[in-house]
Amino acid sequence: MPEEYVKFDLTDMKNFEYDMKRCVRCKGCKWVDHIYMPGATYSTRCPSEKRYLFDSFSAWGRLRLALSLLNGRIEFNDRFVEAIYKCQLCGACDAGCKRNLDLEIGSALESLRIKCVADGFGPMPEHKAIAEKIEKEHNVFGGPADNRDKWAKGIQTDDKAEFVYFVGCYGSYKMQGIPKATANILKATGQSFKIMGSDEYCCGYPLYSTGQIEKAKKAAQHNIDTIAKSGAKTVITACAECYKTLKVDYPKMFNKSTSDMGYQVIHLVEFVADQMEKGTIKFKNNIDMRVTYHDACNLARMSEPWVYWEGKRKLYGITEPTAPRRKGTHGVYHQPRNILKAIPGIDYVDMIRIRENAWCCGAGGGVAEAFPEFAQWSAEERLEEVDEVGAAALITACPRCKDNFSKAINASGDNIKVMDIAEMINEAIK
């Protein structure tokens, strides 16, 4: 193979042409890791393929469509755009593929969305509406920007703190119990922190994940500058989407690496797990409940640091220097489980599909906005799994997951309780 120069730059789909061509349709992107295959049921991990069935709704099919687009065999049309966006970008395919091969599935799919928007065919109208709200009020709900820190009334923050708590739109506007709990937890451990108030813009996940990279970059740049200005070295968040966006997508958008960003991003569960080791947090209250934990995709298999790469691809596809591969091995998997297991009274049980094999709640990638019925369908499948293991409560570490599960429960009348892990921890330390 003649050498070619490629880079992990998502604005040019050609950078991922190799990955598109080299997919062999082993469907590692669809099935639960065969070692963990639970049997005839709960055996897949791609909501899109299970819901819509045709191969165009799978990672392997989308790669084929992207390749056909690159080669001029097809052009964007409504069905194509629909196939692109009926996907949570949950990363299950990417981790599954890298079990056996070294293909950049996730990036290729993101790149396809960026191309779709750049060519004027994407995103979906609902995504554009959210982009407008973000542009105007810097949050996904369109609420007044000035209301962003309303939840923090009466909470003591420290402008000199090295920790900045990035609250996110859902915490700030819709689920204020989560930031309140988070603040309490930080306080309980003696960790001072500050918040960015109305200077905190939507992290940009709804923009980036729907291919609106230019708009996402604006939001990102603002937040990066604000963090830099604040002098904080650590950004803590209780939202998995914000976590992954700040940690992974920001560097990705600017062709940088996570380590180049000048700040470290941690999720509340990482912080609490660390405090548990140090002995600075105590779970005093008994919570008698059988609970299970839902791995939010963005905190779990998609959360490994981004390492920008450019270089040569040579004979046999060998990269030089060796391209880094994020395989989902080092996601934040153990910390939330260790926390829950340490809370007295809790009877912890894992679901059938966990960690890198987890089934997405259904909300991500702009699905909840553009295809709410699909988002609910996906959540319902996960809730069946909760029932299957006999858990009374479902704990997650992402407000978007909580929101989507709650909607599904409201619609179905199920009696499963959904809680954010910050709320659970807060209950335990009160």
Binding site: M1, P2, K21, R22, C23, V24, R25, C26, K27, G28, W31, D33, H34, I35, Y36, M37, P38, G39, A40, S43, L53, F54, D55, S56, S58, W60, G61, R62, R64, L65, S68, R73, I74, N77, R79, F80, A83, A95, G96, K98, R99, N100, L101, D102, L315, Y316, G317, I318, T319, E320, T322, A323, R325, K327, G328, T329, Y333, R355, E356, N357
Partner: protein, 536 residues
């Protein structure tokens, strides 16, 4: 272009509008480039998008679709897991029957069989079987392949050492013939119970499967019972995080792997014969050197760093690894007994027992077939001989001598004579000769990989008297179909003429290679068309 509107409408009425599409964007997702045979000439040159994709749920729906196809003379391609290049349409205006919705799985625990729809894959079945103290053979094709499809055309793996070749595990079922008529085979011919494979009189399983069978060119098997085999009852525990996941063996001595370093290749072969004769073990295989380097590598570049060394080059002739799995089906005592016998045998050859992890990443439940593409981006097996161990080894050594003339474009594997293993407790040996290459079309002489694959290897095998009938699907029928049997091609033609005279069931399979090589300039067809194979 496309199919008649009334045909589409009729199929839509059968399956419902959400399970059928003629959208040409969706169709692009079904254009070839899949699994075994990917990036070979046929895959690159012959695949076309389907006109319609339909997702049936029941046998009745499949019958309905096939009857419509028959009425309108529309070519159709049935596929379950799409893991071989035959399962992509090669004729314009074809229907793809994507069978993924036909995923019912029922286990008959008492009588040790599983009744599967074509959408059921091996890791699903294996898990359900292991839960009940049984197991099946997860084939080299991979855990992700269809249980039904694989049983009717392939199914080789080291577990066949105990479990037997797959043809013996095919039981009763439902087979929709090319014209849509339903044929119930085995015990289903006279009852609703598929637990037994033989029907009354001549066994029509002989028409259904084979080595290598029809690949959808003889209708659709919509339900098949397959035999399960007894396993131990301690279970296997999945551990680790991707990509380092594995099945941990129980502490009780009920299952163990052993890796032996044998002094010579000859001793590796001889010990396999001895192990078979002693009637011990549950799996028995040689470990090719490349696989060891793959296993150690975190990525492709790691592999090449290890492989591009003198040590690797020398390892082909200096390191001979025999991997043996023992299972205490009855008890721990059985395993201990077999271990003593195994050690007696291995000691007699001066073998050294190496460090062996007591877990399984591959073969029992997971078979990483996709990993084969990791090294170079393209792979295929050109020789798959099943006969005696000795026959397999000779074939591999012979091909290793011939391969340098085709390297490059083939990857230099330093003369590796192939992967061999034993089936049916030593009654059979099995070799697979593996090729890797860079599929980038701009390379010089890339056509030679097809020449090697489609023509050279099959010709050598037939000349040598090797049973590489796997190549029945990867060589011209005018070559292997003529040489083997002899003239087994005639029977394919007769069967097809009787049951599918209009050739609507996955045409041009199994004559696709003939059709392909007709169009290329690097094959002298006269060489094999006029050849008299009767004297060998």
């Amino acid at each position: 272009m496309g199919i008649p509107q009334e045909a589409y409408k009729a199929m839509e009425d059968i399956v419902g509008s959400q399970y059928i599409t003629d959208d040409q964007v969706i169709a692009q997702a079904y254009v070839g480039r899949l699994g075994h045979g990917k990036d070979t000439g046929i895959d690159l040159e012959m695949n076309v998008p389907p006109a319609v994709i339909v997702l049936p749920r029941t046998t009745k729906e499949v019958q309905g679709i096939l009857k419509i196809a028959h009425r309108y003379k529309i070519n159709y391609v049935p596929a379950s897991s799409f893991w071989i290049s035959h399962c992509a349409p090669k004729r314009p205006n074809s229907i793809v029957l994507d069978l993924k919705r036909m995923n019912d799985l029922e286990i008959d625990e008492e009588n040790m069989c599983a009744i599967c729809g074509p959408g059921v894959i091996f890791s699903q079945l294996q898990e359900e079987a292991i839960k009940r103290g049984m197991y099946t053979t997860t084939p080299g094709g991979g855990s992700q392949v269809s249980v039904v499809a694989n049983h009717i055309n392939w199914g080789l793996s080291p577990l066949n050492y105990r479990n037997g070749v797959p043809g013996r595990r095919v039981l009763g079922g439902e087979w929709v013939l090319p014209d849509g008529e339903l044929l119930r085979i085995g015990s289903m011919s006279t009852s609703d119970d598929p637990f037994w494979g033989e029907g009354p009189g001549p066994d029509l399983r002989g028409l259904l499967r084979g080595w290598i069978g029809w690949f959808g060119a003889m209708g659709v098997v919509t339900k098949l019972a397959v035999k399960l085999l007894p396993f131990h009852d301690e279970g296997l525990k999945p551990v680790g995080i991707s990509p380092h996941t594995t099945l941990q063996f129980p502490e009780k001595k009920r299952i163990r792997w052993y890796n032996f370093v044998m002094p010579t290749r000859e001793s590796l072969v001889e010990c396999m014969y001895d192990i078979g004769k002693a009637e011990i073990a549950a799996a028995l295989t040689k470990v090719p050197q490349q696989w060891r380097y793959i296993a150690k590598a975190g990525c492709r570049e790691d592999f090449w760093e290890g492989w591009n060394t003198n040590e690797a080059r020398k390892s082909i002739n200096n390191i001979h690894i025999c991997r043996v799995m023992l299972v205490g089906y009855a008890s721990e005592e059985q395993l201990e007994y077999e271990e003593r016998v195994l050690m007696d045998i291995m000691d007699s050859y001066g073998a050294k027992l190496g460090r062996t992890r007591q877990s399984d990443n591959s073969w029992i439940k997971n078979a990483d077939s996709a990993t084969m593409w990791m090294m170079t981006g393209a792979y295929t097996s050109v020789q798959v001989t099943v006969d005696t161990v000795d026959c397999g080894v000779k074939g591999g050594e012979g091909l290793a001598r011939e391969k340098p003339a085709f390297t490059p474009p083939l990857m230099d594997d330093y003369g590796e004579p192939g992967w061999f293993q034993v089936s049916e407790i030593g009654h059979m040996g099995y070799i697979e000769f593996l090729q890797y290459w860079d599929p980038n079309p701009n390379q010089e002489n890339l056509y030679k990989k097809d020449e090697w694959n489609y023509i050279k290897v099959p010709t050598l095998d037939a000349e040598w008297g090797m049973f590489n009938a796997f190549n029945m699907y990867a060589s011209p029928m005018n070559l292997t179909g003529k040489a083997y049997g002899p003239e087994c091609r005639k029977w394919f033609e007769k069967v097809k003429a009787e049951f599918d005279p209009d050739k609507i069931s996955n045409d041009p399979i199994p004559w696709d290679v003939d059709e392909y090589v007709d169009k290329v300039d690097w094959v002298n067809k006269e060489d094999y068309i006029n050849r008299d194979w009767s004297k060998g």
